[in-house]
């Protein structure tokens, strides 16, 4: 039974249900929360496999299921779900790696009191990530994008009582938010230009030829609409995938627990930016045919990717924290993926994304295993000699390291990196990204060798390292499974058998070509890997470090460069001095405005009210009261005047009566009445 697009919604909703259940369980109910999380993720994995089967029956089709959400007035706002090979491969990867990491977490977070909340957040993240993958609407994608950011914030700051963790969570959220601003502007522009945000909609979708033709028109400013929108969407990817210049949050995000680092900041969330670029690739390439553009969107992507790849690798060389090294390595690899997209081969980028997910998650979980065993000692200078004590961890870590470095033929990383370098080589615009990529190959092999040598070889250099022992199966089994994947996945995309690429491109037939084609580049990259490995071993493997405080061999040779790289090229300080200062300045100005302008206005209004009250009271007391008193006095005066007629003299009364009678009679007589 294959899964159609109509039932795709189950894949994100299952973890969401687990998140809801986790939110409702009491604080000590970690087993329930963990169980729900793992079970729902397994269910989503099963469904994703079924979806993949369904997608592969017709790889060129984009099976959509669109529905109206609510009526905007000018028309319904429609959302949708999409099932195609890209979606299916990504879902399978995310659910598989996610499931293994969840199982790992049960062992890693055993001693933590807030474990239930941890699993609840993990489920939330999984739901959001899967929702992002199956979305056929840019709006739905954006919503899930933001939810993923929220989950990342919650998980980075999980140990919130640590000030550094809280600060890192804030930094991650704010930095990605800056990128998301560009994303949002692009989104609104698209809605305004096309009136729909659906990707595929029977010809009316954004990524279909009609819309693309419209968007590829030149605007008066000199850019095509698709170029501008593409660059704006790329802003979001820059933030989320840690490209230069918004990469500063990724290393700090290592403050979170290691499973979080593995899942979110290595395998899945940071890959969302690459996925977005792959998803909207038709939009990014819509301006290729236009001549006279100052810059094509993909060119910018390629160069930023290249810069990021090189910079990440350089900084990783000078770091001493095991997780920081891996973090910068992630930055570098993400740069590779963006580079691949920029040079026109999104399938290479996705291939590398899939393989990277496996071996980077493997490396992080291995690091987590080491950290857990060494009682949270993370400085590689203080570790060592773990090769004998933690066999499984060592072997799997080594496999992951070799995949990352690109050790040829056997390991998946080699094949995926080859695909990228090949694509970069055939880019007509410039070969600079290719050179950057090749340099990064050397550096990657170098710093990974350094890492493995310092952590696992030699003698233990601290108390914690000497007491380390292998962890339980909850931790080691996922490592093994990921290692298997790290090896096997590569064979799906070799040039001789590019099964993955073909399916992604929607082709049913797989046309491989022999390995000897383009072998020059392959030889070069193999050589560079060997150079990097050799240099690393020479500096760190042969002459093993004996004490933790001993200076780094590289630092001795080139202290200035290494110091700058260790300080992450000073970008954090630069941002604090410029953007930070500017924001504080604005805040001070706003405070002044508040105190004098707005508060002043309100106080003025209050005075006005007081004055009105005063006037009213004066009016009441003076005019109204006085008026009434005067009237009453007048009345009394009149009464007194009238009462003077009562003289008390009975004779007088009688006289008046008689006189009155006389007068009346006279009147009657004179009036002539009968």
């Amino acid at each position: 039974m294959t899964l159609s697009a109509q039932h795709l919604w189950l894949i994100p909703v299952l973890p969401l249900a687990a998140a809801g259940l986790g939110a409702l369980t009491p604080r000590g109910g970690r087993t329930l929360a963990a169980g729900a999380t793992i079970l729902t993720m397994a269910g989503s994995l099963l469904l994703s496999c079924l979806a993949l089967a369904g997608a592969l029956t017709d790889p060129s089709a984009h099976q959509v299921f669109n529905f109206a959400w609510f009526d905007l007035g000018t028309g319904p706002l429609r959302l949708g779900l999409l099932l195609d090979p890209l979606t299916a491969f990504m879902c399978v990867m995310v659910t598989f790696v996610g499931l293994l990491i969840f199982i790992f977490s049960t062992g890693y977070m055993k001693e933590d009191a807030n474990a239930k909340q941890f699993f609840c957040f993990l489920s939330l993240f999984a739901a959001a990530m899967l929702g992002l993958l199956v979305a056929n609407s840019l709006l739905l994608l954006f919503v899930c994008w933001e939810l993923v950011g929220l989950a990342s914030y919650l998980l980075i700051g999980f140990w919130f009582h640590k000030p550094s963790a809280a600060a890192a969570a804030k930094k991650a959220f704010i930095t990605t938010r800056i990128g998301d601003l560009g994303f949002l502007i692009g989104l609104v522009w698209l809605q305004d230009a096309q009136g729909t945000l659906l990707f595929y909609d029977n010809g009316a979708g954004l990524l279909e030829s009609a819309a693309l033709a419209q968007l590829a028109q030149l605007l008066p400013c000199g850019l095509a609409a698709s170029t501008a929108i593409g660059l704006l969407l790329f802003c979001g990817a820059v933030g989320k995938s840690g490209q230069f210049p918004l990469h500063v949050w990724l290393p700090d995000a290592m403050e979170g627990p290691t499973p979080v680092s593995a899942l979110i900041h290595a395998a899945t969330m940071v890959a969302a930016g690459v996925f977005l670029m792959a998803r909207v690739f038709p939009l990014m390439t819509a301006d290729q045919a236009l001549a006279g553009l100052p810059v094509h969107a993909l060119t910018v992507v390629a160069f930023i990717g290249a810069i990021t790849a090189l910079m990440g690798a350089l900084i990783a060389v000078a770091q001493n924290d095991i997780k920081r090294i891996l973090a910068f390595s992630t930055v570098s690899q993400l740069g590779y993926m963006m580079l691949a997209i920029g040079v026109g081969s999104w399938v290479a980028a996705i291939f590398h994304l899939l393989t990277h997910a496996f071996f980077k998650a493997l490396l992080f979980l291995g690091a987590g295993s080491v950290i857990h065993a060494a009682h949270h000692e993370q400085d590689i200078r203080r570790l060592g000699g773990l090769r004998g004590k933690m066999r499984t961890t060592f072997v799997t870590f080594a496999i992951g390291m070799m995949a990352l470095a690109g050790v040829p033929f056997l390991f998946s990383g080699f094949w995926s990196k080859e695909a990228i370098l090949h694509a970069a080589h055939s880019w007509e615009v410039s070969h600079l990204p290719l050179y950057a990529g090749l340099t990064a190959v050397v550096l990657t092999a170098f710093y990974m060798t350094r890492l493995v040598a310092e952590v696992f070889f030699g003698a233990p250099r601290s108390e914690a390292a000497s007491h380390a022992h292998e962890n339980g199966p909850a931790i080691t089994v996922p490592l093994v499974l990921l290692a298997v994947g790290a090896v096997l996945l590569g064979f799906l995309g070799t040039p001789a058998f590019p099964w993955l690429q073909a399916r992604l491109l929607g082709e049913t037939a797989v046309h491989g070509h022999s390995l000897l084609e383009g072998s020059g580049l392959m030889m070069l990259s193999i050589l560079l890997v060997a150079v990097g490995l050799g240099a690393g071993w020479a500096l760190y493997g042969r002459r093993l470090r004996t004490q933790a405080e001993a200076p780094d061999p590289l630092a001795v040779r080139a202290p200035g460069v290494i110091a700058a790289l260790a300080n992450r090229l000073g970008l954090d300080e630069l941002y604090a001095a410029t953007v930070g200062r500017l924001t504080f300045g604005f805040a001070d100005f706003s405070a002044l405005l508040e105190i004098f302008a707005w508060d002043g206005a309100i106080r003025f209004l209050a005075r006005l009210g007081e004055f009105t009250g005063l006037v009213s009271r004066e009016n009441d007391e003076g005019a109204l009261n006085e008026g009434f008193d005067a009237a009453s006095r007048g009345l009394r005066g009149t009464g007194l005047a009238y009462s003077k007629a009562q003289t008390g003299d009975a004779h007088g009364y009688l006289r008046s009566l008689a006189l009155g009678f006389v007068l009346l009679l006279i009147l009657v007589i004179l009036g002539g009445s009968r």
Binding site: H651, V662, I666, I669
Partner: protein
């Protein structure tokens, strides 16, 4: 206009004038009784015998007694203490006003066509006829007057009664 009428008129007016101008209160009261008797005579001359008897009974018999009691009960000092007029001013004013009224009345009476001469003196009205009238059309008035007299009687007693020691505030 017979001699009898003139005589009666003289008696009435004379007694009344004397009563009003007398300085002695008892003399006034007694003179007034004479006036009332004269009025009763007039009623007889006019043919209203029952009214004449009623006048004699009520005024000469009862009211004069009441007046004399009042005079005696309100005496201050000797019986023959003179009763002065009010001040001269008051007397003059009273004279003027009374004169004015008289003048107007005199003028209106003389100026009206009241020249009526009956062919024959009337037979008068019998007591039986009066009785029938009283019990017939004027029965409600009779009853009301009865109530009024009762109330007046009780009221007079209450007003003039001596206050018991514990009643005075």
């Amino acid at each position: 206009m017979t001699i009898a009428l003139l005589l009666i008129a003289l008696v009435i007016l004379g007694a009344a004038a004397a009563a009003m101008l007398s300085r002695n209160l008892i003399h006034s009261a007694l003179l007034l009784v004479g006036a009332w008797a004269g009025i009763a005579a007039f009623y007889l001359w006019a043919g209203a015998e029952f009214v004449a008897f009623a006048q004699a009974l009520v005024y000469v018999g009862a009211v004069s007694m009441v007046v004399l009691f009042a005079v005696l009960l309100t005496r201050q000092g000797a019986t023959s203490a003179p009763v002065e007029f009010a001040s001269w001013r008051r007397a003059v004013l009273g004279l003027v006003v009374a004169g004015g009224v008289m003048g107007v009345l005199f003028g209106s009476i003389m100026g009206s066509p009241l020249d009526v001469r009956l062919p024959a003196p009337p037979t008068g009205i019998s007591v039986q006829q009066l009785g029938l009238l009283m019990m017939g059309p004027y029965a409600p008035a009779l009853l009301i007057v009865g109530v009024l007299l009762t109330v007046a009687l009780l009221g007079a007693i209450v007003i003039a009664a001596v206050d018991k020691p514990e009643d005075t505030p």
